[in-house]
């Protein structure tokens, strides 16, 4: 199921960010946005799936987190897309919206070990957490879902936010 929502505009920068990670400029690309404003309310927005990754180890948005979104097809989780979080720890576009926002079982897979390794955080090998699965249901596609994901190298939590 290919969604038109997070394609050209958001994927191209994500690909460029990946390329520059390889080129060793991860620090500049992954600098969190300055925390100078309050979050914007999503009250009354149309049904959609949005997310926000928050690095509670560093007290910053989870910037440049590599994430894979999958949907369960009755047998297994099938990848819908891969992306990176932006400088606010969010995504430029909703993950699912309009016709792509359907009831079902979903999983976000977060590359938490890579995230902290790229920041030089001291970690055991293998790290306690590597790829963190965040599973949730969209039970009622008439209702918006915002997923807040708080993580450290040693734990995480996620919840239905607003």
């Amino acid at each position: 199921m290919a969604s038109p929502t997070l394609t050209r505009r958001a994927f191209l920068p994500a690909g460029l960010a990946l390329g520059s990670l390889a080129a060793g400029t991860a620090a500049a690309q992954n600098a969190p946005a300055a925390l100078t404003t309050a979050p914007v309310s999503q009250l009354n927005l149309s049904p959609r799936l949005t997310m926000h990754a928050i690095d509670t180890h560093n007290g910053s948005p989870g910037v440049g987190m590599k994430v894979q979104l999958s949907m369960h097809d009755g047998t297994d989780y099938r990848v819908l897309r891969r992306f990176e979080t932006n400088r606010g720890g969010r995504t430029d576009e909703p993950l699912l919206v309009d016709q792509s926002y359907q009831s079902g079982r979903y999983e976000l897979l977060l590359q938490v070990e890579d995230y902290f390794a790229a920041r030089g955080t001291a970690l055991p090998k293998p790290n306690f957490l590597a790829q963190v699965p965040v599973r949730f249901l969209i039970a009622n596609p008439a209702e918006r879902i915002h997923l807040a994901i708080l993580f450290t190298p040693w734990g995480y939590s996620y919840y239905r936010g607003s």
Binding site: Q131, R135, L137, A139, T152, W154, Y156, Y159, R160
Partner: protein, 116 residues
């Protein structure tokens, strides 16, 4: 004591999460091999260790918490469930250490961490 243990807490009631099924698996190649299914006792813990100290090996493990089934059985139910099964994947990186991995949950949230 090394090995793996867990504890389920229902953060909505402030009570132990009793009677929750947990599937414990070990990484096997590209997939996960089920070791055993456990049900939490009245204290939200397991009667036997999830993984005994002498069985601990360095590697990747998974605890699959059946959070959705648990909350369906609670008073009030939940007609638009948000959580069903919640997998927690973690590594034993030193077999001399113990890994306590709790699950704190409500119908709308869950949290896990390396506890003690």
């Amino acid at each position: 004591m090394a090995g793996i243990s867990t504890h389920v807490l229902n953060s909505g009631t402030g009570r132990p999460g009793a009677g929750m099924r947990i599937d414990f698996s070990v990484r096997d190649g590209d997939g996960w091999k089920l070791v055993k299914s456990i049900t939490t006792n009245a204290d939200g813990r397991t009667d036997q260790p999830v993984l005994a100290p002498d069985a601990a090996r360095t590697g990747q493990y998974e605890l699959l918490f059946h959070v959705g089934d648990y909350f369906r059985r609670q008073p009030g139910g939940n007609d638009t469930p948000f959580l069903d099964t919640v997998p927690v994947r973690f590594a034993i990186f030193d077999t001399q250490q113990h890994y306590h991995v709790p699950m704190l949950c409500t119908p709308w949230s869950c949290s896990t961490y390396r506890g003690s």
